[in-house]
Symmetry: C2
Subunit: 397 residues, 2 copies
């Protein structure tokens, strides 16, 4: 286990001090610490924050390092799903190699925890899952990874998918995924019963993509809450995107937020610029756990997202019209401590006794670090240096 | 006047060729051009596009190079306006120096044309305008600059402002500005009559900030169109932001777009992530001229925007949910040729006989250049190199 003395850093942008790591945990935080024989990292006055948390991504989708992908599909959800399923083969997409590239890029950019959805479908079977499972094993000690078995192409509308998800859970996936119970499967009851059934059978949590907007999304959200309550799954369900919470009807969304809070359903956002999205402040004020993610990075869906949670904090902040330093810090919180809470890491903070999972950011204040966008100068996972100047210590394949 | 041979570039991402500049204009575009004695720039296979056009910014506001500005104001428009007016003095803001920093950064990032609003108010008088006018003079041959005399703090509600705007136009401002006729002055008729009156008196065009959303914005927009028609100002009025065109009522906005098209009123967008914004495709399909801008950069309003129109093309694309390569090219068009058309440069394209105002972008395709975000490898203004690798050739103060 790692021992390390980090000199001259400013926890959360406060006064400069040292951080002593022993056995992979933060042993002491204070001025002028001494630890003879312990290796030293010079922090240079950088801001120390808890490791960034990528809580919604798709490690099995990226085309990083495979050249420019010309997108001729546009923005129709069904078309993007069908296109990707077909393109995986045509492009010779290797989920093992690609998920390594993606996850290591995240580590280089300050990330210590990742929740990734991984496609499971009747065309590509469990190939993507097997690749990402191998990457998770390989990167143990670099990133903590949760895997969601994700029926991207539909579940009850594609016979055989349920059985594959069952197998995926047995193979080591951590959560059952789902998406758009109305929009994709056109059978909200069937879809959600299948998702919750699998979760119950394997004793696992759930993370459902909900792109459905307005009242349609609200309806699906209610059905998710009903099942969470009925099956006693309080605190074990997350909803990703949850665009419907961004609809203008505040009375309606206030009620939805209260119902979500009762069942401790977590919300994951990407701050999607082109969509209505949940308000960070309202979600947190309602007492919900909230995290964020970059979504797919350089894939057949879009070329926009970067594997960088500091960049994501900026996107989330801008989408929420955050301008004051205090508001910007809230966006950063969601990209770190907030996301960790969704992943079941209850106390992801810089404190003595906690794992030495942290990132050093350049800048005088947290808000400046978000606005200028790094690069993150150092990433530590369990006290081990996993990234420097925005780049991973370990070379990607 | 400048002669230059640019070797090995790909106009609009097409086949590689050379571009010969003579007397500041594009003389020939073709393969293996010869021009003995003419200096040569090696393009390295980069994509050549018409110079980027920053068509909505505030050169007099930036705090670039003045250290981190802690924002405690938040997102209320009136509060942001009042805060800035007071802070200019406290911070010792020098509009001459700051506008130089901002404009040169734009030039370094591929920009050849800039339209800047400049604050005119009874507290700071014409100081900002004088600073930006001096910068415009200083940067002649580096960027073509249009200046909008902008009553940021209100017009008819602040006695003395009208007279200052009058003076500003006489001093050399190119257009009369205005903002939120209902929201700020609380007197749409008074505000717009004053703006159009000044424009008529000085024989100049108009560019009005319209943040007002939904029906309120639509009402103000109608009043702008009415006055444009009544005063015979067809083709000489632009509306910046025009958030109301992003409202969900497509029947209503379709009618507004048709009315705008009749009077050839141009639209300028920033692709603001947190607001409803005009759809690029709908605005262009309606036959309107449309440009884009980064808005204020690192100022008392927000820390988000960068002086970089390639970055802005990405933001506009994301806001419009553009994903296919063809759609992304449309966002880039708006940030170049589209914005030029708003500034009265009707034919801002790479063609023989046109001024040699162009930018070289890295990447295999236009969409890749937007997605990866540069840096722009070379900026040319009238054939003169004004930027390299994202940095201005001339050092900023």
């Amino acid at each position: 286990m790692t021992d390390l003395l980090i000199r001259n850093v400013r926890p959360m942008g406060g006064a400069a001090c040292d951080i002593l790591v022993r056995g992979g945990r933060i042993d002491r935080i204070g001025p002028a610490l001494e630890a003879p024989g312990v290796p030293v990292e010079e922090g240079g006055g950088a801001i120390a924050v808890p490791g960034l948390v990528e809580a919604h991504t798709h490690l099995d989708k990226t085309l990083m390092g495979m050249g420019w992908y010309e997108n001729v599909v546009g923005a129709d959800l069904r078309a993007m799903i069908d296109n990707e399923r077909a393109e995986r083969r045509r492009l010779g997409h290797d989920p093992r190699r690609q998920s390594m590239r993606h996850a290591l890029a995240l580590a280089g950019a300050g990330t210590t925890h990742v929740r990734s959805h991984v496609d499971v479908d009747t065309e590509n079977g469990l190939a993507a899952l097997e690749g990402v499972l191998a990457t998770r094993e390989d990167l143990r000690g670099i990133v903590d990874m949760e895997i969601v078995a994700f029926p991207q192409s539909g579940l009850v509308s594609r016979p055989g998918t349920r059985e594959l998800l069952d197998e995926a859970m047995a193979l080591g996936a951590d959560l059952v995924g789902g998406l758009d119970p109305c929009g994709i499967d056109r059978d909200p009851r069937g879809h959600l019963d299948a998702v919750f059934g699998l979760a119950e059978r394997h004793g696992r949590g759930i993370d459902i993509h909900l792109h459905e907007a307005g009242e349609l999304g609200a309806f699906s959200m209610e059905m998710i809450i009903e099942r969470t309550r009925a099956l006693g799954m309080r605190g074990r369900v997350a909803i990703s995107h949850a665009f419907c919470l961004g609809m203008p009807d505040w009375v309606r969304t206030e009620a939805l937020l209260a119902a979500l809070a009762e069942e401790d359903v977590a919300i994951l956002t990407t701050g999607a610029p082109s969509r209505e999205v949940p308000s960070v402040r309202r979600v947190l004020d309602a007492g919900l756990r909230m995290g964020a993610g970059c979504d797919g990075v350089l894939d057949t869906w879009n070329p926009w997202n970067r594997p960088d949670m500091l960049d994501r904090a900026r996107i989330v902040a801008q989408k929420n019209n955050f301008r004051s330093d205090a508001d910007v810090e809230l966006a950063l919180h969601v990209c770190s401590t907030g996301g960790a809470a969704v992943m079941g890491v209850a106390d992801h903070v810089l404190a003595e006794g906690r794992p030495a999972d942290l990132a050093l950011l350049p800048g005088t204040t947290l808000a400046e670090a978000v606005a200028t966008g790094g690069p993150v100068t150092l990433t530590l996972k369990g006290g081990r240096v996993t990234g420097r100047q925005g780049r991973p210590e370990r070379e990607a394949p």
